[in-house]
C-alpha cells in the first residue's frame, strides 16, 4: 500500500505541475467590462462585483465564473481557467507579485462603500458601532488605520504595508462578541502568524476594547457570512461588506467605514517564472509552511480533522450497528424506521445536512461547531455503515446460523462466535472504503467555521497567495492519514490473517 501511495503522490504532483503550466496567450488587456467580450471573468461568490456584473454579462458578451474565495479567483486567472478577475481595489492592493497577476484597469464607475453588518433588529449593537465609527472618523484614527494597512495614495497597489498583528485585546469580564469574517481577504482580515489581523479586525478589536467586549473570531466562506448572521451564529460580520439595497433587506449596516473601486486583474505576462523547479519548491515550502510558523495551522487543522473523523467513525459504527440491528429485526416497525432513516440520510448531500444541522437544528444551542460536525458525520455515515454491516451479515450462509443454533447456541452466541467473525471478512474492505470517504468528507467542515486541514490550507493560501502548494501539502497529509486509518482498521478487525 505504501508503494501505491508513493506512485499516486507522484501522479498528483505531476498533474498539478501540468495545470500550472502556462497556456499560449493572446494580447489581452481589458480596460472596461466591454473589452471582456468572449472572455471569462472570475468573481467572488456573494460579492458586490458578482451582483454588478450579472447585469452586463449578456449585453457585453462575457461569461462569469463564480469562486468561493479570493485565492480561488486568483488561482483561476493564474491557471488560465478565467481571463480576468473583478474585485475591490482594497483586496487587489495586496496581490502577491509572485502570483504573476497585475491590475489592468480601475473601474471608477463601480464605486462602493462598505461597513460592518449586524443582525436585523440588533439596534443596540448597531448604535454602539455607529457612534464608535463616528468617533474614530472625527479623531482621525480611522484614516490612520487605513494609512497603516492600505497604501492607495500612490496608486501602487502592490506595495501594501503590512504592520505587525494587533495585540489581542481582551476584557476578561466583558460579554463575548462573535465576529465572523471570511478570513481570506487581506488587508481587511487575514490570519498572519496564527493571529487574526487586518484593518477591519483592528477596527472591531478597538471597538471591543473601547466598549468593554471580548472578541471571538469565526471564519466562514464569504457567501455564508450573511446566513450565519441571520441565524445568530455571529454578532458582527466583518468582511468589507459593500452596502447595497439588496443586502439591507437581510441585515443592518453600520455607517460606511470605507470605500472602494473595483478593479480588473489579469495575468501578468512579463512576470516569467525564472526560478527552477527545486528553487520554487523551496520557496513554496518556506512561504507556505515555515514563514510565520504556518505549519502550526496545518498541525492544528490536522488535529481537528483527526478528531472529527475518529469520533464520527466510532459513533457512526455504533449507530450503524444499531440501525443494522433494527433493519434485520423481525419487527416491521423497526424495519420501517431503519429503512426510512437510511433513505433520508443516504440521500441528503452531506454538505446540506451539515448546514441544516448547524444553522437550523442547532442554531440556538451552545453546542460547539466541532460537536455539530461530529454529530452530522456520525449520522450520515451510520446510514451507510448499517447497510455495509447488513450485507456482510447476509453474506454468511444461513447454514452457519442453523449449525450454531443446532448445537444449542443462543442467538447471541451464534452471532458473536459464528456469524460475526465470518461477516467481518466481507465487511472490512467496504468499511475501509467508507472510513476513507468519511475522512475526506470532513474537508467541508470549513463551512461551519471549523478550521480543519482543508480550511487551514485555504487560510494559508489566502495569506500567501500560494495557489497550489498548500493543497499539495494537505493532499499528502490526507494520503498518510488514510493509510494509517486503513492499516489500523485491518489490524483491529482482522487480528490474525488466515487462509
Amino acid at each position: 500500500m505504501i508503494r501505491y501511495s508513493k506512485i499516486s503522490l507522484l501522479a498528483v504532483l505531476i498533474l498539478s505541475l501540468l495545470v500550472s503550466c502556462t497556456k499560449s496567450e493572446e494580447d489581452f488587456n481589458p480596460q472596461s467590462l466591454r473589452d471582456l467580450k468572449g472572455h471569462t471573468l472570475a468573481v467572488l461568490d456573494g460579492s458586490y462585483q458578482y451582483a454588478y456584473v450579472k447585469n452586463y454579462d449578456e449585453e457585453y458578451g462575457f461569461s462569469v465564473s463564480v469562486y468561493q474565495s479570493l485565492p480561488d479567483c486568483y488561482m483561476a486567472v493564474a491557471s488560465g481557467m478565467a481571463d480576468a478577475v473583478m474585485l475591490s481595489d482594497l483586496n487587489a492592493c495586496n496581490i502577491n507579485p509572485s502570483l504573476g497577476l497585475k491590475i489592468c484597469a480601475v473601474l471608477e464607475e463601480v464605486f462602493t462603500e462598505f461597513g460592518f453588518i449586524v443582525q436585523k433588529g440588533n439596534t443596540e449593537l448597531l448604535e454602539e458601532l455607529n457612534s464608535f465609527i463616528t468617533e474614530i472618523k472625527a479623531s482621525g484614527e480611522l484614516d490612520e488605520i487605513y494609512r497603516r494597512w492600505v497604501d492607495k495614495v500612490t496608486g501602487d497597489y502592490h506595495d501594501c504595508v503590512r504592520v505587525d498583528p494587533i495585540p489581542a485585546n481582551s476584557n476578561p469580564t466583558g460579554n463575548v462578541l462573535v465576529v465572523g469574517n471570511a478570513g481570506v481577504e487581506p488587508p481587511a482580515s487575514v490570519l498572519l502568524d496564527n493571529q487574526w489581523t487586518g484593518f477591519e479586525i483592528e477596527m472591531v478589536t478597538r471597538f471591543a476594547e473601547h466598549n468593554g467586549y471580548q472578541i471571538q473570531m469565526q471564519t466562514y466562506s464569504f457567501h455564508n457570512l450573511i446566513p450565519s448572521l441571520q441565524y445568530g451564529k455571529i454578532d458582527i460580520g466583518a468582511s468589507t461588506f459593500i452596502i447595497s439595497e439588496e443586502r439591507k433587506q437581510k441585515v443592518d449596516f453600520t455607517q460606511p467605514t470605507g470605500s472602494a473601486h473595483s478593479v480588473l486583474v489579469i495575468k501578468d505576462k512579463e512576470s516569467n517564472k525564472e526560478a527552477s523547479f527545486f528553487q520554487s519548491i523551496k520557496k513554496s515550502i518556506n512561504t507556505s509552511l515555515i514563514a510565520e510558523s504556518r505549519w502550526k495551522l496545518i498541525l492544528q487543522g490536522l488535529w481537528v480533522t483527526v478528531v472529527v473523523t475518529f469520533a464520527a467513525l466510532v459513533f457512526g459504527t455504533i449507530l450503524g450497528s444499531g440501525i443494522c440491528w433494527m433493519r434485520m429485526n423481525r419487527r416491521r416497525s423497526f424495519q420501517r424506521f431503519a429503512k426510512f432513516y437510511q433513505y433520508v440520510l443516504r440521500n441528503t448531500p452531506i454538505l446540506v445536512f451539515l448546514m441544516i444541522m448547524y444553522y437550523v437544528i442547532f442554531a440556538n444551542s451552545s453546542l460547539s461547531p466541532i460537536s455539530v460536525a461530529i454529530l452530522a458525520f456520525s449520522l450520515n455515515s451510520s446510514a451507510f455503515m448499517s447497510e455495509i454491516f447488513r450485507t456482510g451479515i447476509m453474506s454468511v450462509d444461513n447454514g452457519q446460523r442453523e449449525a450454531g443454533r443446532g448445537i444449542g447456541c443462543t442467538k447471541f452466541q451464534t452471532f458473536r462466535y459464528i456469524i460475526l467473525p465470518q461477516a467481518i471478512k466481507s465487511i472490512v474492505p467496504v468499511y475501509k472504503n467508507e472510513s476513507v470517504t468519511l475522512l475526506k468528507g470532513t474537508a467541508i467542515v470549513g463551512y461551519i467555521s471549523i478550521i480543519d486541514l482543508t480550511k487551514g490550507s485555504d487560510l494559508i493560501r489566502s495569506a500567501t497567495f500560494e495557489a497550489f502548494f498548500p493543497l499539495i501539502v494537505i493532499t499528502v497529509v490526507y494520503f498518510i492519514l488514510a493509510t494509517i486509518m486503513t492499516k489500523g482498521i485491518d489490524r483491529l478487525l482482522l487480528p490474525n490473517k488466515r487462509h
Partner: protein, 357 residues
C-alpha cells in the same frame, strides 16, 4: 423418547397458505433407528427440522424426555444440546479449524475446560477417522470428510438422539460410503437416530423402522422388511419399485407426434433404456395413429420400474365400451404383439384399458 402428536406446519407464501405437514402422529423409542423415506417435496426434511424447532411447527406437540418442547417457556437451546442435527450441506464453521469445530460447542455451550474438550474432540475425530486433519480448515476437506467432522461435532455435545437431514445427498457417490459407515458405527453403539435419506439399501440394512412419507403425512410405517418387501399401499409400492411414469392426454387427432417422440427419447435416456426407445415409439405410433386413430380422448401412461427394468404402457380409451383390438388393422396389431411380451384389454367404468408390457 420422542412423542409427536398432530404435528403440523403451514408456510405462507404471499398470504397463500401451503400445508407442508398435515398432522403427524409418531412415537420414537430410545435406541430406535428410524429412516424417513419418500418422494421429494413430501415434507421429510421439514418434519425433521420441526422436531428440534429449526423450523417452527404451527401446531401439535412434541414430548421429548417427558417435556413438551413446543411450549414457548421451554429453553429450546437446552433441548437442542440433547438432540443433535447433521445437515445435508455439512455447515461446518468455516472460520474454525476441524478441532475448533468439535470443541466449540463443549467449551462455549457446555462450559467445558479447553484441555478436556480438546482431548474428547480428538477421541471423537479418531472415531470418525478425521484425527489427522484436526488442525486444518474445513475448506480443504472433501464433502465426505466434512460430513464426518459434522457428525463428530454433533457427538461432542453428547446428544441423546441425532437427527440426520439427508446426510449423503450433497456427496459424490464415491464419498457416500464413508459417511454411511460412520452412521452404521453409531447405530451399533445404540444411538437413537432419525435419518432422512434417499439411500434405500442403507435404510433397509441399518434401520429398525421405516417411515414412508407422502403428501405431508406418514403414509406407511413399519419394519424395513414390511416396507421394502411387502409394501401395502399403492404409493409406497410405486416408490419402492421406483416406477417412473410419462403421462399424455390426447384429446384431438392432431397431436404432435414428433414432440411426443422427443419426450419418449428423453424419458428413455433419463432412465437408461435407450435401446427400447424405438420399440416404444413404434408401438405408440401404431396404436395412436392407426388402431386408435378414431378414438379420442385417450390418456397414456408409459411406466418404467427401476427395480426390475420393465417398461409398460397403459392406454385408457375413454368412452369405449368394447374391444378395439379385434377389429384392428392386422399389420399394426402384429407389429405391436411382436414387439411386446403381453397385450391385455379390459373394459372398465371409464372406458377401455389396454395394457402392453
Amino acid at each position: 423418547m420422542i412423542e409427536i402428536t398432530n404435528l403440523s406446519k403451514t408456510y405462507y407464501n404471499n398470504g397463500q397458505p401451503l400445508e407442508v405437514l398435515k398432522g403427524i402422529d409418531c412415537t420414537i423409542n430410545k435406541g430406535e433407528i428410524v429412516s424417513i423415506i419418500g418422494p421429494s417435496g413430501t415434507g421429510k426434511s421439514t418434519f425433521l427440522r420441526c422436531i428440534n424447532r429449526l423450523d417452527e411447527p404451527t401446531g401439535g406437540q412434541i414430548i421429548f424426555d417427558g417435556e413438551n418442547i413446543l411450549d414457548p417457556k421451554v429453553d429450546i437451546n437446552r433441548v437442542r444440546r440433547k438432540m443433535g442435527i447433521v445437515f445435508q450441506s455439512f455447515n461446518l464453521f468455516e472460520h474454525f479449524t476441524i478441532l475448533e469445530n468439535v470443541t466449540f460447542g463443549p467449551i462455549k455451550v457446555l462450559g467445558m475446560k479447553k484441555a478436556e474438550a480438546e482431548e474428547r474432540a480428538m477421541e471423537l475425530l479418531r472415531t470418525v477417522g478425521m484425527a489427522e486433519k484436526a488442525n486444518v480448515y474445513p475448506s480443504s476437506l472433501s464433502g465426505g470428510q466434512k460430513q464426518r467432522v459434522a457428525i463428530a461435532r454433533c457427538l461432542s455435545m453428547e446428544p441423546k438422539c441425532i437427527l440426520f437431514d439427508e446426510p449423503t445427498s450433497a456427496l459424490d457417490p464415491t464419498m457416500v460410503g464413508e459417511v454411511l459407515s460412520v452412521i452404521r458405527q453409531l447405530a451399533s453403539m445404540g444411538m437413537t437416530m432419525l435419518i432422512v435419506t434417499h439411500e434405500m439399501k442403507f435404510a433397509h440394512d441399518v434401520s429398525t423402522r421405516i417411515l414412508f412419507m407422502y403428501g405431508g403425512g406418514i403414509y406407511e410405517d413399519g419394519t424395513p422388511q414390511q416396507i421394502f418387501e411387502h409394501p401395502q399401499k399403492p404409493e409406497t409400492i410405486a416408490f419402492i419399485q421406483r416406477i417412473r411414469t410419462l403421462h399424455y392426454d390426447l384429446n384431438t387427432t392432431n397431436s404432435d407426434l414428433y414432440a411426443i417422440n422427443t419426450d419418449i427419447d428423453k424419458f428413455c435416456l433419463k432412465y437408461g433404456v435407450e435401446r427400447q426407445k424405438f420399440t416404444l415409439q413404434l408401438i405408440f405410433e401404431e396404436l395412436m395413429f392407426n388402431i386408435l386413430k378414431d378414438y379420442r380422448p385417450i390418456s397414456v401412461d408409459i411406466s418404467f420400474s427401476e427395480l426390475d427394468y420393465s417398461l409398460s404402457m397403459k392406454v385408457l380409451v375413454k368412452g369405449a365400451t368394447s374391444s378395439v383390438l379385434n377389429d384392428a388393422d392386422e399389420l399394426s396389431l402384429s407389429i405391436i404383439k411382436g414387439k411386446s411380451k403381453e397385450v391385455k384389454e379390459t373394459v372398465t367404468d371409464e372406458g377401455l384399458l389396454i395394457e402392453i408390457k
